[in-house]
């Protein structure tokens, strides 16, 4: 599906707002037909990156390339990208039809064509019959669809979506995630999607770009990022994790909680401080005497598919997911298989690790 062609490229892009680096020397490329998600906490620079591509901001340093051509200084209205804004930014003085037709009218498309193309879009987003409604009179989900239709009707090369589902309730959000993904695959358009919701990113993306403090932490497929987080930040942000201080004794041997563990990672040197990441679902709860570590259950909560327990193992409080519940105060043992012990370099400056 994804072509190996760099449709958009950011080269060493830095953006400074009032003396503060919003982005520091970002390098990123997006391939045609790819669904790329920029993921990170608020203020990490993901929206700024999107706005640079949309043309709403100009980088302080570096270049933005589109199909290999420099578009750094091209204004937004000359870029072949369209944006779905955070709060939709529908024009309140126009009705649904005129909102969607806005770009086409600017482009002086003939009236008949406008009618046809807007009609097709309304069908795509399931809003046939809503043409005359005022934008204000729509529900959040409907407004969302109009915003998407308004952008897509211009047949952009890339659709930029800035937290488009943020204002919707949970149920609607789940539905829209699937719908968006479907649409992207059906239309074959490149999507650049910004969110702070890791689950959304994991569900929809071909590629996830994890960002923090204006730097890219990791780029990869959802699976690789989940399974092989490059540092503790990524690990923590993508799913829940237990992060422990540890010392790498040598390849495939790591020390934490005063005990040596076997692992599969190599190349961290000898006797070096590292972070160890344990996913809650990777920790097994066993009988007190059978575990690698012994502990006491401090709390247990039913979470729908599993129980979440906090187990005090002396050196740390471990969050553990399990289908079997142990009561509070129970003595238990925990163990982890070597493959599930993820070793990471100690996290230093935000831009240090990922460069």
């Amino acid at each position: 599906m994804v072509e190996d062609f760099h449709l958009i490229e950011l080269e060493n892009v830095t953006k400074v707002f009032d003396g503060v680096n919003a982005l520091s020397r970002i390098n990123l490329y997006i391939r045609r037909r790819e669904f790329v998600t920029l993921l990170g906490p608020s203020g990490c620079g993901k929206s700024t990156t999107l706005r640079l591509i949309g043309g709403f901001e100009t980088p302080t340093e570096g270049r933005v390339l589109f199909e290999g051509a420099d578009i750094t200084n091209v204004p937004p209205y000359r870029r072949r990208v369209n944006t779905v804004f955070q709060k939709y930014a529908l024009f309140p003085h126009l009705n649904v039809f005129d909102n969607i037709a806005f770009g086409l009218k600017i482009a002086k498309v003939s009236r008949a064509d406008i009618k046809r193309r807007v009609g097709a879009m309304l069908e795509l987003v399931g809003l046939v019959g809503y043409e005359k409604r005022s934008a204000d009179a729509l529900s959040g989900g409907q407004q969302q669809r109009v915003a998407i239709a308004r952008a897509l009707v211009n047949e952009p090369e890339v659709l930029l979506l800035d937290e488009p589902l943020g204002a919707l309730d949970l149920r609607l959000r789940k539905d829209m995630q699937l719908e968006l993904k479907n649409m992207q695959q059906r239309l074959g358009i490149t999507f650049l999607y910004v969110t702070h919701d890791q689950e959304e990113a994991l569900t929809m993306s071909d590629t996830i770009v994890v960002m923090r403090d204006g730097c890219i932490q990791q780029i990869g497929t959802p699976k690789s990022i989940y399974d092989e987080p490059k540092n503790a930040f990524v690990a923590d942000f993508i799913g829940e994790s237990n992060i422990l201080d540890a010392t790498m004794i040598k390849d495939e041997r790591v020390l934490f909680c005063e005990r040596e563990f076997a692992c599969v990672d190599r190349g961290f040197g000898e006797m070096n401080p590292v972070d160890v990441v344990l996913r809650p679902e990777d920790i097994q709860v066993v009988a007190p005497d059978q575990g690698q570590l012994a502990g006491v259950v401090r709390s247990a909560l039913f979470k729908g598919v599993h129980y979440e327990m906090i187990i005090d193992v002396g050196c740390a409080l471990l969050k553990v997911h399990s289908t079997v519940m142990q009561p509070e105060g129970a003595q238990v043992g925990v163990s982890v298989v070597p493959f599930n012990i993820h070793i990471m370099r100690k996290y230093a400056a935000p831009c240090g690790g990922a460069a």
């Binding site: 949309g54 043309g55 709403f56 204004p75 937004p76 209205y77 990208v81 369209n82 944006t83 804004f85 955070q86 709060k87 930014a89 024009f91 309140p92 003085h93 806005f102 770009g103 600017i106 482009a107 005022s134 009179a137 308004r150 952008a151 211009n154």
Partner: protein
Amino acid sequence: MVMKRLRWVYIALVLVFLYAPIVVLIAYSFNASETRAVWGGLSLRWYAELFRDKGIMDALYVTVSVALLATMAATVLGTLAAIGIHSMRSGMRAVFMNVTNLPMLTPDIVTGVSLMALFIFAKLPRGYGTMLLAHITFDTPYVIFSVLPRLKRMNKHLYEAALDLGATPSRALVRVILPEISPGMVTGALLAFTMSLDDFVISYFTSVRTANLSVLIYSMTRRKVPPTINALSAIMFVTVLSLLLLVNRRDARSDKSKLKGA
């Protein structure tokens, strides 16, 4: 129940106080006699004479034309300024807002004398032109203060959305921002127009060659006010009354139709 009736009486009394002089003026406008001391029977004489009185008609023309021109200029200047101020960094914005606040806080008389000093310093003959300049100056802040809240309330991405959809900045301005802030512009323009129509103090200091109605009426009250002024008051009152009623009715109706539509 007694309380309620007392309320009505109270409101009615205040209204009587507010309307008494206006009613008196209108009553006198139908007095055939020249002096107020004598009731000479009903007559429309003063209305006929009003339109023949060149002084009053000139002043009326000056008042309305200055108000219209000043309102137009202030609306353009103020709307642009509001858009500009809205997109400024906070430091610069504070400077502009303070300068905008200044004429609103300055007493009219100080604005008047300081503009007079400026025009004399610049050797501009004080007449129609200087009066217009002065009116634009005190009208513009009203437009800015009416437009800015609309801009603030506007989704800040609307402009970008228009650019994103291919509109150049100027088209985005005309097709998206202006429609969005137009209610604020209308409010501002109405305020400015009213202020202009009603102004006496600033016009008094900034124009000697040309008198608007206020200045003319002032100079008349110092001599002898002709009964034609009563007729003028009556006409102005009825005009304002019907305009306000009209606007009110239209508002009520559009509210109703909105309810129906939703």
